[in-house]
């Protein structure tokens, strides 16, 4: 398996592990610093993709974030862990501007969030809600919405349609493109939401509990999809309840507890995660019954 993560140079070992996963890229990587993986090496000096400093936020008068620092460098895969109510969902929703910060500083791609307009570089996968939309929509229609960041008000072109098709193939849903999303299982629906984010060909993927209520087969497909994105140089920030099949991909874990960061470093070991403060174990296959899908407002 991969080497023991080194805290002082968190991203570097995993970059090598990744290069091994993608044959053909290994030779190109070492001499030329221009390859897709190269930025990860220079991550220590380059400005971070996400930089959250002393972030505070409250929902309904209750403080949810109480001074959170979160840095995600280019090419990194960072997992945000914590129990229900620890503030991990609020943290990512504040990063994408959906929860206003009452204090602290947020920079995206080295731009103050207030002035950040380049949302096409960000692919967002919100927490899945079970509430169906009022009108039926096909899988392709939903995924095409992810392309709007790139083309704004212009009509779709061949490149847009190709990107949508690629995104559907990546998550293994190409054969379901014409099916209504209402007829999909939880795991398939989650794959569609990820395809929607991928359709915009983002540099930064932000996912809120992508594994919640997802069957094991879909979890494996999602892990493969994520691996491909990482291999092509994408930066990933994801909220997870437990590491599961994504564990080998994760460079760094940030653990929140009561709105504060209590751990920032190598991901906890498979056994160690059960010992996390406040960890309540939820099996993925049982998540449907064990834990109602939350809107994200309370977590």
């Amino acid at each position: 398996m991969r080497p023991e993560p080194d805290i002082s140079a968190g991203a570097a070992p995993s970059t090598e592990a990744r290069a091994d996963d993608t044959p053909g890229k290994t030779s190109a990587e070492t001499p030329a610093q221009t390859s897709a993986e190269a930025p990860a090496r220079a991550s220590a000096e380059a400005p971070p993709v996400i930089s959250l400093r002393g972030a505070t936020a409250s929902l309904g008068g209750r403080p949810v974030l109480r001074g959170v620092d979160l840095t995600v460098r280019r090419g990194e895969v960072v997992a945000l862990l914590g129990a229900n109510g620890s503030g991990k969902s609020t943290a990512v929703r504040s990063v994408v501007g959906q929860v206003p910060l009452s204090g602290g500083e947020l920079r995206l791609f080295d731009t103050p969030s207030r002035r950040f307009r380049d949302w096409a570089r960000v692919g967002y996968v919100p927490q899945r809600t079970t509430a169906a939309s009022g009108v039926p929509a096909t899988v392709r229609e939903v995924v095409s919405a992810g392309r709007l960041a790139r083309r704004r008000l212009a009509p779709p072109r061949a490149a847009d349609r190709a990107a949508v098709r690629r995104a559907l193939e990546l998550v293994g849903m190409a054969d379901r493109a014409k099916d209504p999303v209402g007829a999909l299982s939880g795991g398939q629906h989650q794959r569609v939401l990820i395809a929607r984010a991928l359709a915009g060909e983002p540099e930064l993927l932000i996912m809120d509990e992508p594994m919640a209520g997802v069957d094991l087969a879909s979890q494996e497909i999602l892990a493969d999809t994520l691996r491909e994105q990482v291999a092509r140089g994408a930066t990933v920030l994801l909220v997870l309840h437990e590491l599961g099949p994504l564990e080998p991909l994760i460079d760094r874990a940030v653990v929140l507890r009561d709105g504060c960061v209590v751990h920032d470093g190598p991901p906890p070991k498979a056994v160690g995660q059960h010992a996390l403060p406040g960890h309540d174990h939820v099996h993925p296959h049982a998540a449907h019954d064990a834990e109602p899908i939350r809107t994200g407002l309370l977590t």
Binding site: G97, P126, P136, A145
Partner: protein
């Protein structure tokens, strides 16, 4: 049958009816998608004040209704953003205020009476003037331009507003534009369907269409088709039977909804059967014990599952 086209008033009524049949479902689909089907109703109530204002000032009621209902729709949209817990009460105030204001103003005006009001509340085929047709055509063109031209953007906003915001779409602008478009549609429809029943024509064709469709674009197309068919046939029915066209159109639309709902269930069952037949292979795992010794599938089918488990 075709002799009704000889009457000029009937030609105007049918043009207006066809435009209503196109625009009302085209806007309504977004309201249904956002679970705000009732919004059209609210705008209808507010538009009544606009109509009365037209009578009071001597202006064409269509234009005053556009102005007042657009203001009302924008106000509703703002309440949706900022009003958190008391939003429903604020909307109710707007509904009742619009209705009461309309009745009050129209009785204050020298030319208006409750009789004119009825033609605006339930529609009338004989009162669509030449001016009205021009105004309705311009307004309908605006509605079609927005609802079809921006359908992908509006779809994204109504389907998942948070995702649309993160995508960088101008969500607030699009929401306001949709609210104004809904208000314009209400005034397009008020001559033919009437202000009290306009919301039905926004919602019922969409509800009928989605029984039979699987995608958004298809639902939109079918809803508009149903809308045009029911507005035209309802208007013709009103010509022969002398009932307010709004009533006959809405009853027809609900009949279509009932028909598609009745047809959809067996259709969906057949589709599911076909999908199951081509996608899934029957369970053919070799099982230990008694099941392995079970008879061939043909014989099992007759006996039922219990026999196999013995």
């Amino acid at each position: 049958m075709l002799e009704i086209l000889d009457y000029a008033f009937m030609q105007r009524a049918l043009i207006a009816a066809a435009l209503v049949g196109i625009t009302a479902p085209a806007v309504g689909i977004y309201l249904v998608q956002r679970r705000q089907a009732i919004m059209g109703d609210g705008i209808g109530h507010v538009a009544l004040t606009g109509v009365a204002l037209g009578f009071l000032t001597g202006a064409n009621p269509v234009w005053t209704a556009v102005a007042v209902s657009a203001l009302g729709a924008i106000l509703m949209e703002l309440i949706r953003w900022y009003g958190k817990t008391r939003g429903d009460l604020a909307l109710a105030m707007l509904f009742y205020g619009g209705m009461a204001g309309g009745v009050l103003l129209i009785n204050l005006s020298p030319t208006g009476s409750n009789a004119n009001l009825t033609t605006y509340l339930f529609g009338s085929i004989t009162t669509v003037s030449r001016e009205d047709v021009t105004a309705i055509t311009c307004l309908a063109a605006f509605v079609v331009l927005i609802t079809l031209g921006l359908r992908r953007q509006l779809f994204a906003v109504c389907q998942d507003e948070e995702f649309a915001r993160v995508t960088g779409l101008p969500v607030r602008t699009l929401n306001l534009l949709l609210a104004v478009t809904a208000a314009v549609t209400v005034t397009v429809a008020m001559r033919v369907v009437g202000l009290l029943l306009v919301s039905a024509l926004m919602v019922v064709p969409v509800a009928a269409a989605q029984q039979a469709t699987r995608g958004f674009a298809m639902t939109l197309a079918l809803a508009v088709a149903i809308g045009v068919v029911v507005t035209l046939s309802g208007t013709v029915f009103s010509f022969y039977e002398d009932v307010p066209p709004g009533a006959s159109i809405v009853v027809l639309a609900i009949a279509v909804f009932a028909a598609t709902t009745a047809l959809a269930a067996p259709l969906a069952r057949r589709r599911a059967r076909r999908a199951a037949a081509e996608a899934e292979e029957p369970c053919a795992l070799p099982l230990p014990g008694a099941r392995a010794a079970a008879p061939a599938p043909g014989a099992t089918g007759a006996g039922g599952p219990d026999d196999v488990l013995v």
